[in-house]
């Protein structure tokens, strides 16, 4: 069954401007081009703030990899994730926010106007919204990075085909791990789920499907310690966390689904974060630095919903606008 999707390729945004006036100060700089940041951009544009959005290398963010978004209000028949991101971006551009594909490399929030640097430019903004989202967590074990794209993957829908009649290890026990693992059974001879606990965290319906699938096997209470192989992956070494015993599982590839990590490395020492690296915000999306706000998955792992990200982006932009109004009122 063939289908034809019309989406925004992730790199198609306006290339960065060649020269930027260094004395120019934006009212608002939004870091991140996914639903939280883009929604903030809509509100900033409508508030007539002089605003700039820096998308990072992959505009649209996590939602662009979702085939069908069925829970975003206003789309009763569902909408392709990339298309949704593209529509929100169009809406933001319509209201005048400058959207530039550039990746932030350094920030300085010590005194306003805040400095936001990319490889080639330095931008300054009276306020900043951090909306850098979250990315799939990596195991961080030997062999994982070396074999990435050559047997280690985080996208079964992309790469499942290459595991026809092969054996694949899936690491994790949540919805993504089981859903993608089940997808892999369409191709693979055997799918071995390695999970650090003795039961799955995935939704009941996924669990039932997984346990009923004759191609799926489970290795409980175990963590992957190393990806083995020379030219290609030949297996993974696992350690049982209860007994401490290690063993080798022969496999041609490994798919990793062990949750997400917030994209906050850049902001270390600049704003307060919790022990997991999420940016701490109050009910008004304010961070520990007055004038710096955060929205979306970067400040909360609790919901991970597009509508929540968009909502918090709107809140952050409204708060930024209020602060700017207060500041201009007092000067």
């Amino acid at each position: 069954m063939l289908d034809f999707k019309l989406t925004q390729p992730q790199q198609e945004v306006q290339p960065r401007p060649v020269a930027e006036q260094s004395d120019q100060v934006y009212d608002l700089i939004i870091i991140g081009g996914a639903p939280a940041g883009l929604t903030a951009a809509i509100y900033a544009g409508r508030a007539a703030l002089k605003s700039l959005l820096l998308t990072g290398p992959f505009p649209g963010g996590q939602v662009t990899t979702t085939d069908m978004v069925e829970n975003f209000p206003g789309f009763p028949d569902g909408i392709n994730g990339a298309e949704l991101a593209q529509r929100i971006q169009r809406q933001a551009e319509r209201f005048g926010t400058q959207i530039v594909m550039d990746t932030v490399t350094k920030v300085d929030f010590s005194t306003p106007p805040f400095t936001v640097r990319t490889d080639s430019q330095t931008y300054r903004g009276r306020t900043v919204i951090i909306a850098t989202g979250a990315v799939p967590r990596r195991l961080g074990v030997p062999g994982e990075a070396e074999f990435f794209g050559r047997g280690v993957s985080t996208c079964a829908t992309c790469d499942g085909f290459f595991y026809k009649d092969k054996r694949a290890v899936v690491v994790g026990g949540g919805d993504s791990a089981i859903d993608e693992g089940l997808f892999l059974t369409k191709f693979a001879r055997e799918v071995i789920v390695v999970h650090r606990r003795d039961q799955l965290r995935a939704t009941k319906i996924y669990q039932e499907r997984a346990f009923a699938n004759p191609k799926m096997r489970f290795v409980w209470d175990s963590v992957v310690e190393e990806v083995l192989g020379e030219k290609t992956v030949t297996g993974v070494r696992v350690r049982n966390v209860k007994t401490g015993e290690t063993s080798v599982i022969e496999a041609d590839g490994m798919f990793v689904y062990i949750g997400m990590v917030p994209g906050t490395k850049l902001f270390a020492g600049q704003v307060e974060m919790d022990e997991w690296g999420y940016i701490v915000t109050d009910r008004r999306q304010r961070t520990s630095v007055p004038g710096v706000f955060a929205a979306g998955d970067v400040q909360s792992p609790d919901f991970r919903q597009i509508v929540v990200a968009a909502g918090s982006g709107a809140m952050a932009a409204i708060e930024a606008e209020r602060l700017l109004a207060e500041q201009s009122g007092t000067t």
Binding site: L6, Q11, C155
Partner: protein, 219 residues
Amino acid sequence: MPLLNEEIAEQVKQELVDLAGPVRLVMFTQEFECDYCAETRQLVEEVAALSDQLASEIYDFVVDKDRAEELGIDKIPAVAVIGAEDYGVRLYGIPSGYEFTSLLHAIRTVAAGKPELTEETLAALEEVTEPVHIQVFVTPTCPYCPGSVVLAHQLAVASPLVRADMVEATEFPQLAIKYQVMGVPRTVINETVHIEGAAPEPMVLGKLQEALEGTEEKV
């Protein structure tokens, strides 16, 4: 029975409404049509019908061997997207799923004859003096892939020495094996340098330069 439903056809029409110039979709199939050859031919014809600026040309890979060689077509189904000139933009395998986006962007870029790349990239491409062949391996179910294909096609339009192919890996399993494709997108430049995953423009440019340095050393 059309491949594109009315809703998608209408959207495509809108996407193509302001095409900057004429574009030919030159498609290669053969009499005994390969897997997806018939569908690719039909798709090309359906898309071509959606804009006055578009035309489709269908050739037989065997009968029209000279034409295929002229365009550097070495496997089918193949689509060469040709504008005011042939920029070396090719798609091998059916551009379905997420790759349909790549086809439309190839059409738009070729029509304009002007790539959307940074000044730095354009300046670096001016320095290229050796032929560059970029192959981007994809699957139709890979949301990260069109970004890499579109970028490769932009590079082809930007430089007369660069040609760029989308290669749908599931239709050319022998190539997937040859180039050790275990994940997509996988970009292979001049057979020597490869990139795993969706890479941003400066990184792809860096790898392109790396591939050229490699050839200079060999000479």
